[in-house]
């Protein structure tokens, strides 16, 4: 097991390095110039050169990549080209909003996906089960922006029919007013949770439908469980690792979803910051932010792989 974890961590680090190279390269081919944004439209060519020299943008690409990577190794994500603020500080601050939002989104998607997935598999041959799975099919296909808009129209304060929950912004006071802060995250997290939950629902459903035909589930019923108990108690755990890995695969689209709803709900988190920074061509900041987000996705993958190894004895080798 230790050996497996070490190998898996090595893979994680390799993934990070590859991501860093990819992100760096992609941003260099993006049109636009940070110096131009900083200097303003009227800046003379000499002024632009000055700015580039000041921020190291005149160096060769490998040199720029090298110094960024060297900084990362020391936990230094660099400084914003535009504001000069250390990127690490700003990301840490934005995380206070984005992490709870991502966590709440994940929670909603699991609360929606797992129980409804089980129900729709158990009742798959009834009209209700068919209806549920058709709804899930539809929800999984709609863009998160639409889900968000729909929620705002239905439930949002100010614009909505029911005016139940705040739909724009985050309290200036942040988490010192936990109730208000939390309330402002509910609708955006629900928007992500519904769409991601629909994907999980479909997966849980199909994993369970497959389990329905499995011999050991039939054995469990032959030993005195009802058919439904056998399916849920014995079929579901077998599907556990597969469901976990889908959740991990969904982590990437969940993070993207979070970035999207932050913009839609005017939440000042990582996502909104990223959108602004791309507009400003704040290269190093975009680079570092994207790397942190991808790192988060890779980290979830790492944890899920280890967890699924722990819950599935077939994946453990003898003696582990």
């Amino acid at each position: 097991m230790t050996q497996y974890v070490l190998r898996r961590v090595a893979l994680f680090v390799l993934g990070l390095v590859l991501t860093s190279a990819l992100v760096f390269a992609l941003l260099r081919v993006l049109p636009g110039d940070a110096a131009q944004v900083m200097g303003g439209v009227k800046a003379t060519p000499e002024r632009l050169d000055q700015i580039r020299a000041a921020y190291g943008l005149d160096r060769s690409l490998p040199a720029q990549y090298g110094s960024w990577l060297a900084g990362l190794l020391h936990g230094d994500l660099g400084q914003s080209l535009i504001t000069g603020v250390p990127i690490k500080d700003e990301i840490t601050q934005k995380f206070a909003l984005t992490l709870p939002l991502a966590g709440l989104s994940l929670l909603f998607s699991l609360l929606i996906g797992v129980p409804l997935g089980i129900a729709s598999a158990v009742y798959y041959d009834t009209k209700l089960g068919g209806f549920a799975s058709a709804v899930a099919q539809g929800l999984a296909a709609i863009p998160i922006v639409w889900a968000g808009l729909l929620l705002i129209i239905l439930l949002g304060k100010g614009a909505g029919l029911l005016e139940l929950l705040p739909s724009q912004g985050f309290p200036r006071t942040g988490w010192s007013e936990p109730g208000r802060a939390f309330a402002s995250l509910i609708l955006p997290a629900l928007a992500v949770g519904i769409v991601e939950g629909a994907v999980i629902l479909r997966f849980v459903r199909s994993a369970l439908l497959e389990a329905r035909g499995q011999d050991h589930v039939r054995t469990a019923a032959a030993l005195g469980l009802t058919r439904r108990q056998a399916l849920i108690r014995r079929g579901l755990p077998g599907a556990g690792p597969a469901i976990l890995s889908v959740v991990a695969l969904q982590a990437a689209s969940l993070i993207v979803g979070v970035v999207v709803v932050e913009a839609l709900f005017a939440l000042p988190g990582m996502g909104s910051m990223l959108v602004t920074d791309v507009g400003n061509r704040d290269l190093i900041k975009v680079q570092s932010t994207v790397l942190v987000l991808v790192g988060l996705v890779l980290l979830i993958g790492l944890l899920v792989d280890i967890a699924s190894r722990l819950i599935d004895p077939r994946q453990r080798r003898a003696g582990e």
């Binding site: 041959d125 054995t219 019923a221 030993l223 009802t226 058919r227 014995r234 077939r314």
Partner: protein
């Protein structure tokens, strides 16, 4: 306690796969069901348990201890399954739960039906594993199915089915998936246990050569019907129906392929085994 089956019919849509069959397993009797692949043997045993696929329509009557089982609520049937009727399935590679320990799953029937303490369950598990002649039974408690051989798994499947002392045992080709040499040992253990319990037995197989070892009476099934029935020795010595003759020839051919008693038969599913 006897099992009486009358007019049992199982259909998928308009395809009838078990066609108005009737038979009886009197208290303590051992009855074999023999027939080619697809003749409806498994569905007949599953119907007794109320575990036919949902898409199957089951009609007719199955009486267990006087009580009608066809149409009974699954909750009630579950109270019978594993307690008074025990079942051993065919494929030991897939019939056990891959993610639970042997110690847990071997006592499932007890835990589903009785309220025993942890210590009692452990003791019963060890005794059950010992009864199917697994050496050092305690060492199996914490292991998982994928760590065991096919023969060991099938012994566990037997222990699991019989642990609550069922009055009727359904065995659906319990040794078909095993190597012949392993088969003999498993069958012997199974026989001893059934004898010890004094339970009735319904033994399904497509290998007629096994019948004399496990049953006194047998039914021959073909395409959902019973084409011949009677004492096992009579079926083998003086078969009346061409289907029975065919099954005997198939068994002889298999024996010839295997050599006299010690051949290494390929595991079922490779196509190497002879099924006419």
């Amino acid at each position: 306690m006897s099992l009486e089956v009358n007019d049992l019919t199982i259909a998928f849509g308009d395809q009838v796969v078990v066609d108005h069959i009737g038979f009886e397993v009197p208290d303590g009797a051992r009855v074999g069901i023999i027939g080619q692949s697809g003749s409806g043997k498994s569905l007949t045993t599953l119907a007794v348990l109320g575990l036919t696929p949902r898409s199957a329509r089951v009609t007719g009557s199955i009486r267990w201890n006087g009580r009608e089982l066809v149409g009974l609520a699954d909750k009630v049937l579950a109270g019978i399954r594993g307690r008074t009727i025990g079942t051993v399935f065919q494929d030991p590679m897939t019939a056990l739960d891959p993610v639970r320990t042997i110690g847990k799953q071997v006592t499932d029937a007890l835990r589903n039906h009785y309220d025993l303490s942890k210590a009692e369950l452990r003791e019963r598990a060890i005794r059950a594993l010992d009864q199917v002649k697994l050496e050092d039974p305690e060492s199996f408690l914490g292991r998982y199915p994928h760590q065991l051989s096919g023969g060991q798994r099938q012994r566990i499947a037997i222990a699991q089915a019989l642990i609550a002392g069922p009055r009727l045992i359904l065995a659906d080709e319990p040794t078909t998936a095993l190597d012949v040499t392993v088969q003999a040992g498993v069958l012997q253990v199974f026989n001893e246990l059934v004898t010890g319990l004094g339970s009735s037995l319904l033994f399904v197989t497509h290998d007629i050569s096994l019948l004399p070892l496990v049953a006194e009476q047998a039914l021959v099934m073909e395409a959902g019907r019973i084409v011949e029935r009677g004492p096992v020795h009579q079926l083998i010595d003086r078969p009346q129906d061409p289907v029975t003759v065919g099954l005997i020839e198939a068994a002889l051919a298999t024996a010839w392929v295997d050599g006299p008693g010690e051949g290494e038969r390929a595991p079922s599913g490779t196509g190497a085994e002879v099924r006419v």
